[in-house]
Symmetry: C2
Subunit: 222 residues, 2 copies
Amino acid sequence: MTQDSLHLYSYWRSSAAYRVRIGLNLKGLRYETVPVHLLRDGGQQHSAEYKAVNPQELVPALRHGTRTIRQSLAILEYLDEAWPNAPLLPVAARDRARVRAMALLVACDIHPLNNLRVLRYFENTWNVPQAERDAWVQHWIEQGFGALEELLEEPATGAYCHGDVPSIADCCLVPQVYNARRFGVDVAAFPHIARIEATCLALPAFADARPELQPDAPQGQA
Amino acid sequence: MTQDSLHLYSYWRSSAAYRVRIGLNLKGLRYETVPVHLLRDGGQQHSAEYKAVNPQELVPALRHGTRTIRQSLAILEYLDEAWPNAPLLPVAARDRARVRAMALLVACDIHPLNNLRVLRYFENTWNVPQAERDAWVQHWIEQGFGALEELLEEPATGAYCHGDVPSIADCCLVPQVYNARRFGVDVAAFPHIARIEATCLALPAFADARPELQPDAPQGQA
């Protein structure tokens, strides 16, 4: 597929957008960031303009030419199908399933529970105090990371979550570790995860995707 | 791929297991149900025996010969790669992305928020009353269904979520509608969703996968 223009609707601190930035970088694809500020103007993701891009009012979304792709994991699979170079998934069905299961562990069972809209619900509808909201976030990260750590004991693990090539599992893991640190989780308690994160961040594709380096990050974050 | 034995670790009322049952049926694959009772014995998903199958202590998991596949969407993709007949995803990358985005809307942004373990946390840790827990469940289903309904306005929608062949999007949608009814959501307010659910349930692959027909369903549910 030729490279039509790629526009990523993104917020610097969104871990779902961070996943896609890594995938785009791993593929060597140039893209333009369209910032959607989740906190400004009552949340720009709720604007009529952005709702037309994504009725879920969530980032990220990818514009590729005239088409819009939503949901970070669907975007990563799309990138992998449209640009087969630098594959983000291994070849064998059983290995692809292992990679997808690790990605989904993060994308289904950790991240959505801790997303901005959920924490806002607790704060605004149930008046849950900050300390209890933080404990909630930590609980699901630690539960998920504990299970992931066991999966990473398997011999199929290599330098990365699966073998020695970064995959969509790593695209999901590294942003989730970033979130874990933000919420005070002791990442060192999960040695495989900590090791893989460090290995990933040594690659420019991951390092360049970090939140603080994005064009919409506040000044002085880098 | 020949059919090695397939065993599905399942709970009759788990909507994630329901997705996989539909996929197996659509592929015409015979499988054996291994019941994991989520409420009995303090939750059989927490047993040492099941933790060895799935460290996440969640159903479903699929045993295929000697390998274990976890995460319902990874299982559905695995079925589609291992048995290409009766495809669960369309051919073109853009169409696959649309189907996956709809599946992920349910699997990431509705279901995990309303899962048993989350409702238990609210009940046991925060003492949230039943009525408020139910309102929480309804909120996320209605929010997700509202967005999905808009996506289903697109011309790519057919008899099913995408065109006239059932896909992983339908495998996710039908169980989520079942959950919606359980929690008192007015499904008729979402006409595309209600129509597609009815179309799906007219197929034996969907109808036979219904919770009340499973071998571990309580007597008298059917």
